[in-house]
């Protein structure tokens, strides 16, 4: 049942993905920008600009350019950056794992801290912990992430030198041999503990900065749904039957309360992937958000389209995974 549902959903993604390519293509081509002229430099004659346009295939009519682009996508040729002349796919293979690592760590931290905080807040309603959690949540939503990042960087990295300020690894120690491009994971796979702790230390500040906002929403969401579930009859029955409080909370209450939180987590992955560029800028984290934003400064449209497609695809896949998780959390949910 689930497998058929997932397959159907995967097929249904295709029109969405084609829609994304079409939309980004149109948006990046309606601006009166001329990236080739820019890349050619101020000395280029009109003739030389035309020659470069032919080289990048942007001299053709728009519909042909779009069809060529789609054909390339299927054949593994996602175009070239006009600015760096590198294949977009190679660039994405470099920047996307960095983003995945950062966003993954941020979500991990947010769940690790947010869910227990939400549960405790719900159990000890209006207690000191609950009020503190509320303050953290409001602050987490209200504080601009890049500002918090700068503050953490100034104090923890530059002032007290507890963490590295920028980058993904210390050049003195070298970076782990590339396997996945996710450095912490690569270090683990290589069994290189020095590199693991080094890359983890580089990840700490940006991941925490990025985690604060989802942490806030996850805490509040968990608290609200826990409160709702805890007032249900079956919880009272479970308690009355003499089940251990820990079992009631984790097995009966939390599991049911996790459905809205899981949805929230899924949505956050997508938002963070695209929206983390300010944090990436502060910590010099070479992620896909910054890559996309910079490409857009130069109207370098192939990278813009490529990264939008990857972010869109990840968003769809994560949300599909979230839907699949619903069934695990609540066996009553049927896929049809």
């Amino acid at each position: 049942m689930l497998r058929r549902y997932l397959l159907r959903q995967l097929v249904a993604m295709l029109p969405t993905l084609v829609g994304i390519t079409l939309l980004t293509f149109i948006i990046s081509h309606v601006a009166p920008a001329d990236p080739v002229r820019f890349a050619a430099g101020p000395h280029a004659t009109q003739e030389q600009v035309e020659q470069l346009k032919r080289y990048f295939g942007v001299d053709q009519p728009l519909h042909l350019q779009y069809l060529n682009y789609l054909r390339g996508l299927l054949g593994g040729d996602w175009g070239r950056s006009i600015r760096s002349k590198q294949p977009v796919l190679a660039d994405l293979a470099r920047y996307f794992p960095a983003s995945l690592e950062l966003v993954g760590a941020a979500i991990f931290l947010a769940v690790l801290l947010g869910v227990p905080l939400g549960v405790v807040s719900a159990l000890r309603r209006n207690s000191l912990v609950d009020n503190l959690a509320r303050v953290v949540a409001v602050a987490g939503v209200a504080l601009p992430a890049f500002w918090l990042g700068l503050l953490l960087q100034l104090t923890l990295a530059f002032q007290w030198q507890l963490f590295p300020a920028v980058g993904r690894y210390s050049p003195e120690l070298g970076r782990p041999a590339a396997i996945t491009g996710i450095y912490t994971l690569d270090a683990l796979l290589n069994g290189n503990w020095t590199a693991f702790s080094d890359t983890l230390r580089h990840l700490a500040l940006p991941a925490f900065t990025l985690a604060v906002n989802p942490l806030a929403t996850i805490t509040r969401m968990t608290r609200a749904s826990m409160l709702e579930v805890l007032s249900r009859d079956y919880i009272k029955t479970a308690r009355a039957s003499g089940l251990a409080p820990w079992t009631v909370i984790t097995k009966y209450a939390l599991k049911n309360a996790m459905i809205p939180t899981t949805t929230m987590i899924g949505l956050n992955v997508g938002w963070l992937l695209a929206g983390s560029f300010l944090v990436e800028a502060v910590f010099s984290w070479p992620g896909i958000g910054l890559y996309t934003v910079e490409s857009s400064f130069y109207s370098d449209f192939q990278p813009i389209m490529g990264s939008t497609l990857v972010i869109g695809l990840t968003f769809l896949l994560v949300n599909l995974a979230v839907e699949a998780l619903y069934g695990l959390l609540d066996p009553r949910i049927r896929y049809g």
């Binding site: 009166p32 002229r37 000395h43 004659t45 530059f158 300020a165 920028v166 993904r168 130069y298």
Partner: protein, 554 residues
């Protein structure tokens, strides 16, 4: 319950301890840590001339002659050269015993390959400088260490431009050729040079590491760096904190305020701080037309442009953009350029003069609304003197320039609309021609080599229509002719006369507002312990071979 949270808390505490327990990496001995705003997208010496790409190229490769700020470039890979009396045939004698990084010799064939590669690709950079005066037969190998370049016509700035040609290793380049691209994709992120440094690691968007080439022909006697680390650091406050904490040895793209804040406690060698060839312009569309697409706009009138030049508040710009570390330019090229005319008229601010020029051009405030007007299209309805100024959105300084422009011109009854737009869009609209282009915008130009041809030709010769530095759409056949003669002449005295005449004509025409000359502070700030290398206005880039840590020199 309690026990579980205790366990959870202690796990978290343990994780933090593990994170903090490992000390920071070892101190970076004799390695220059650069925290730079700028990424390095392309280091192919055949296609790049942009600032950072060319700084990297300058250190990975060697040219035949190198620009070091002397009157003429000094012998480098070529130990001597001769030139024919008509300045068309240049013979270079290469230094023996110089090797590329793979150990193969730098020879005449490599020089021939280098020129023919960029001429064939014709994709920007040096190709656009040498393309008009060379063809694929221009470079002849005489013997292993002698190469002869025959130009299709004399090229006045040849000697000044030759340091931009960096010699590549043909074997390495051809080994990485894909689909006949002459190694372009590979060389954009790899090197095939003979320069003092080699690439140690290349991580686009984050970190570039360079280390010494041990067999560099000049040797490593005396104080030199072991290597350079280039960290891409987008956030200005991070760069500032990095140099303050001692983690960075050089930062760039800072504001005058930042420089003032750091002055005295970081900046190294004071001789690095000085004038440069960059010039800041407010381009005025000399072929402006009104919205109907036919009626000549007010900017077509020389008197209006002169009035604007007199009305502009240069001192406010010097303060806003450079905290006083700059000055109003004297004409269209920087004072540091050869052949600069030191007697040129400077449009010192004079509001009365500006008003009288406007009146002379037929502009008056007929309806008393504070904006001067004039009937331009003959419909009996006067048009107000109103122009658009576009700045690169996101660049606060450029917006500030717009506001100063707006405030200065308002005092003589000219209204300026200040509008932000992405840079790529501004470039695109300039390319679409004078009717589509913006009325005015602010742009910085950095001539690629230390000769007025590099500054004046792209900006004021009418063949450059479409380029964003030709933002004035200045079209003067006499200036066109002089610029053509200047570049084709090898007679220095005659070139001097020509370029000074062009400067006078551009100033008299008030082709644009020559807005600002800034000292080299915002580009690069070095830590106090950095010594050596003097800033050279010509290339506007550093040669790392000459830089060292003062404390390690003794």
């Amino acid at each position: 319950m309690k026990g579980v949270f205790q366990r959870w808390l202690s796990a978290a505490a343990l994780a933090v301890m593990v994170l903090l327990g490992i000390g920071l990496g070892g101190a970076s001995e004799n390695i220059l840590d650069v925290y730079s705003l700028v990424d390095i997208p392309n280091i192919d010496p055949g296609t790049t001339l942009d600032g950072i790409g060319s700084e990297t190229v300058r250190n990975l490769y060697d040219p035949l002659l190198r620009e070091v700020g002397e009157e003429q470039p000094i012998p480098w890979l070529a130990e001597s050269y001769e030139v024919s009396p008509d300045a068309r045939v240049w013979t270079f004698h290469l230094r023996p015993g110089v090797t590329f990084h793979d150990g193969s010799p730098v020879n005449a064939e490599a020089v021939r390959f280098t020129f023919n590669r960029f001429l064939t690709m014709n994709q920007g950079g040096v190709a656009f400088i040498f393309g008009p005066v060379m063809d694929l037969n221009s470079v002849q190998v005489i013997d292993d260490l002698t190469v002869q370049i025959t130009l299709t016509r004399p090229f006045g700035p040849f000697l000044k431009a030759i340091p931009l040609v960096f010699i590549v290793n043909p074997q390495v380049v051809l080994a990485h050729e894909v689909n006949g691209d002459l190694g372009a994709a590979w060389l954009a992120q790899n090197e095939a040079g003979s320069g003092p440094f080699v690439i140690k690691d290349w991580q686009p968007g984050q970190l570039y590491e360079f280390t010494r080439y041990d067999n560099y022909w000049q040797g490593w006697e005396g104080p030199h760096l072991q290597g350079v680390r280039w960290r891409v650091t987008r956030e200005a406050s991070t760069r500032l904190a990095a140099i303050r904490s001692g983690q960075a040895d050089r930062i760039d793209w800072m504001t005058a305020d930042d420089w003032l804040a750091l002055q005295g406690d970081t900046y190294g060698d004071p001789q690095n701080f000085g004038p440069q060839n960059n010039l800041y312009h407010i381009k005025l569309n000399n072929q402006q037309v009104l919205a109907d697409g036919v009626t000549p706009g007010p900017l077509q009138d020389k008197l209006v442009r002169q009035a604007m030049s007199y009305a502009f508040d240069y001192e406010a710009l010097v303060q806003a953009a450079a905290q006083g570390f700059g000055r109003q330019p004297q004409g269209p090229i920087a004072r540091t350029m050869p052949f600069h005319d030191d007697n040129l008229l400077i449009y010192a601010r004079d509001l009365e003069r500006a008003r009288s020029l406007l009146a002379q051009a037929g502009w008056s405030d007929s309806n008393g609304n504070g904006i001067v007007d004039k009937d331009l299209n003959g419909d009996g309805q006067p048009e107000p003197l109103e122009i658009d100024f576009v700045f690169v959105s996101g660049l606060d300084l450029y917006e500030q320039v717009g506001l100063i422009f707006q405030a200065s011109l308002a005092e003589v009854g000219i209204h300026v609309n200040v509008i932000g737009s992405p840079w790529a869009n501004i470039v695109g609209q300039q390319a679409a021609g004078p009717a589509e282009a913006w009325d005015s915008y602010y742009v910085t130009t950095a001539p690629e080599f230390n000769d007025p041809h590099a500054a004046l030709f792209p900006e004021y010769h009418s063949s450059n229509a479409g380029s964003w530095v030709y933002g004035d759409f200045y079209n003067n056949p006499q200036v066109d002719q002089l610029l053509e003669e200047g570049v084709a002449s090898a007679d220095e005295a005659r070139r001097g006369e020509i370029y000074q005449q062009v400067q006078r004509m551009l100033v008299d025409d008030a082709a644009e507002i020559f807005a600002l000359e800034v000292d080299n502070f915002a580009q690069d700030i070095f830590a106090r312990d950095v010594c050596g290398e003097k800033f050279v206005p010509g290339p506007n880039a550093w040669f790392w071979y000459g830089i060292y840590f003062c404390s390690l020199a003794s």
